[in-house]
Amino acid sequence: MNDVIFLQAALITTIVAVFLHVIGAELRREDLIEWGKIGTYLTFIFITIASIRLFYLLITHDFQNLYVASYTSLDLPLFYVISAFWAGQEGSFLLWAWLISIFASIVLLRAKSMDDARFTSYASGMLGAIMVGFLYILVTASNPFKRLDFLPMDGYGLNPLLQDPGMVLHPPVLFIGYAGMAVPFAFAMAGLIMKKDWVLSTRRWFIFAWIALSMGNIIGAWWAYHVLGWGGYWAWDPVENSSLLPWLTASALLHTVMVEEKMKRMRAWNFTLMTVTFILVLYGTFLTRSGILESVHAFADSGLGAVLMGFLLIILAAALRLMIRRRDYLKSDPVGFDLSRSGLILITSILLVVSAGTVLVGSFYPLLLEVMGGVQQMVQAGYYNTVNVPIAVLIFMLLGICPLIRWRRYKLDELKPKITVSVLSSISVVLIALILGVRDPITISATLACTLTLTTHLKEFYDASRSGDDKGLSNLYTAICGDHRRFGGYIVHLSLIVMVIGVCGSSIYENRDIFTLQAGSSHTIGDYTLEYQGTEAIHSPSGDGIYYVAILDLYGENGYIARAMPDLFYSFRFEETYQHVYIKSRLFEDIYIIYQGSEEGYALFEARVIPLVSFIWWGGVLLLFGGIIALLPDKRRNEA
């Protein structure tokens, strides 16, 4: 018996469940809805069995399974054997389907009343339809349980670059974000069918998915930084872009939903953003694997590509048809570009969507040129930076104003006294920067925008700590408990500022040098001196390769700091060499050393002094913290 039978069973139960849910909801038949629920739970059980089977095959090194043989080997540590579950295409699709089935079951368990049950039923039908897509791919083009007709002695092994905690975490966290977006999307569809609010009821799902999406991207960047060894963390390559795109549109939606909650406006815009976000999520999942970004021709050849296109088009068509049928319901008073919270949110969301648009245009421009018959072209990272830096500056400027304004329309005169502190502080910080000799226009505009936002947000926290009868901190605590989303959001804003500082510092002020050293000689970069002591060859404990370790003594202005040991690892299995970066993280800068190898006693090194880069990772931690705060249920003030 092949394990794919569990996936086939899941496919059948999902299809049945979709029909039961939708028909049950249409005919208001409670019994059908109940059966639909059982269908969804059964799907979850079958996919769970399939997933456990895959874990089991991986752990027991069943190399007759093609997937196990392709991504693991006997000497691979258990930790990475388990993570190989999502190292390949088949496994990641299975993880996707599994996550949706988990989420779909949680949705059903939390549903309550009858009217609610119909709403949930439509949404479960939609989630089921999405699972049908994935399960269909899993049982046909991308089956993780394919068996070889012979038993290999050992597996192919996991690429050493992927053997890193960052790569263990990055895919599942990103997929939690991806699959998590399916839930609010399904409810948006259900909400439109029933003319019922979906924004409020899926608010926490949406925030949860957004945090996972953010963290997935940050962890990916962190992995690239400490593993790939090119000193950067974001290269604007199509794969990275594909996970940034839904993040941008989701970030826009995160704010525009508040307008619908408070004013019942922007319904059409929110539904559109939700659909676009989910389509971009699917785009991110599939298109990077289908080869379309390499070349049009590769795309046409890949069977997966066709299935994907069908899948995307069905979802798009369904959403569009629903929008047309419910156009009267979607109509609401337009939000004006005025000085009110809704006006500023509208502008912010447009800026975020424009940013996503420019990234999409950059990704598809080469394809367009190729279709029109030119030679293939590559869009350089410079394009994305040039276009998105001004957008980011504008967004941060708005972020510095927005918290000061409530929902009604403001006059400029009313805003003036509120914003004085922020404006003064940002101007004085910029002046200080100018006096200190900062001339870079990006740094200066980022300083201006970030200080404005920082001051405004700190002032919000300060005001909250003053607006009660208790002492400062306990007032603040009460305020945060009364409105977790608001303060969680503020913390996320602050985390973005921390990250912007890291991005500016590391990309603009990086100091980089390539140099040759002989044993005993030394080289100075910035405030640091590197003294080369020689190289040692060490066999790896598991016997799968040799480390060529370069030994350098690292000195700072105040003397000895550490012994730096970057190395080159030669893997017998892959017959390839991998550079292991040495990174010494200090509070305000990283020293990043790569050993490139030696010949006739001459060793070649590349060293970088990268300022403020750790701010990006600390910003990520702060974002997670703010996100968790925003997710906590509010304790109503009168209940306390």
């Binding site: 991504y71 421009y365 072209q377 869009v379 991998y578």
Partner: protein
Amino acid sequence: MDKKTQMIIGAIVIILCLIGLGMTLKGSVVPYITVTELKSGDYRGEHVQINGTVVEGSVDWHPKEILLTFKLTDGSETVDVEYRGSIPNNFEEGKMVVVGGVYDMNLLRADEILVKCPSKYTEEIE
């Protein structure tokens, strides 16, 4: 300001942004071609990105001069590459790489080498 003026200003801003976007985009693309296309087209003095395979046995490395030379091929044509920079992780003979640089006098003076992503999704079992 009445509605009409607002609309006109808005339209002008949007058009200017689109023009700016288009110009930035046009200015930041480089041809991404094969060695054969490089040899047959007129790319002298132009910045190009070439994809190809590093010819086995052609890599010559002199750490003292920080100089790396190798031959890049697409199967039919071959070009000499000269590179003075940091060797990227995973650079190996026989590997698919993308080399960016300026081509002149049958020599590609590279300023960047990208090793095709070590994608976990493409490894095939033998």
